[in-house]
């Protein structure tokens, strides 16, 4: 049921990002939770999940290497013909990854990832079972 909801949200998101190749939700071990792929997509979503795991190590190093840098919002990889935007969701337990050709404006991808992150978090399996926490990690009743 949750996967169905995730797929619905991803499909809706893809509808607003015309030209996008693939949108993936994976956990921080790179395991795929759900994805949406266009017919033009050439990369297996599982492979992108694995890529998330690879850069997760760099993200962890980033967190540890500096102080007072705040919470990671997103990571953007720009390449010759395409862009990849990776956004941690659910306090870094999962990642959303969008791969799109350069024709899709990067600002649109960022805005969509920001706006859809809360909905994807709500669609995660068992999300409702998690206690609410404030910015310091304290459980809020």
């Amino acid at each position: 049921m949750s996967d169905m909801k995730l797929k619905d949200v991803l499909s809706e998101m893809a509808g607003e990002l015309a030209g996008t190749w693939v949108i993936v939700v994976a956990d921080n071990d790179g395991m795929l939770l759900s994805f949406w792929a266009s017919p033009d997509n050439k990369l297996p979503p599982e492979m992108l999940g694995g890529f998330v795991q690879t850069i997760n190590e760099a993200i962890d190093a980033f967190k540890q290497s500096t102080t007072d840098f705040g919470k990671l919002d997103d990571v953007i990889f720009s390449m010759g013909f395409s862009s990849i935007v990776i956004k941690p969701i659910a306090d870094g337990a999962c990642f959303m990854l969008v791969n799109a050709p350069k024709t899709v404006p990067l600002g649109m991808i960022r805005m969509a990832t920001n706006n859809y992150a809360p909905r994807l978090e709500q669609a995660l399996p068992g999300h409702g079972a998690l206690p609410n926490r404030n910015g310091m990690g304290t459980v809020v009743y």
Binding site: M47, T54, E57, A61, T66, K71, S78
Partner: protein, 141 residues
Amino acid sequence: MPDASMNDVVSEMARTVGGLWMITLIDSDSMVLATWQSPDNKVSPEALGGFMQIFNNAVTVFKQSPVGFSRFEDVIFSTTNLHQVIKPIAEGNCFVVVSAPRNVPLGMIRAMCTNYVSKLEQALPGRQPLPRKDGMGTIIP
């Protein structure tokens, strides 16, 4: 002499966009080649070393994977407090790292990095002028 020139270029970059915290030029082993820092900067350029080393490994893995089908243009880490733009130059032998608070427009930072690539490459010590290549990588006499 080339090092002074690199610092000049980095300082010139800093003057083009207001509010930056740090611009650092490092090699692929994370050794600092040149740097500019504002008085507000809290992170030493050397502290980026560990992060960049791990990041560089992630980039290498990325290039070798089927996902990395094309050349990196830049990578952007955005946190709640800052933007960090990393741009490979000189065929990935060096990186420009720019740190700035969130109120500095990301597009301005990206444009500055892109526009200064050739100047920075020319300022690298012992750097020979690159041969002109066509889209297929063939050298144009």
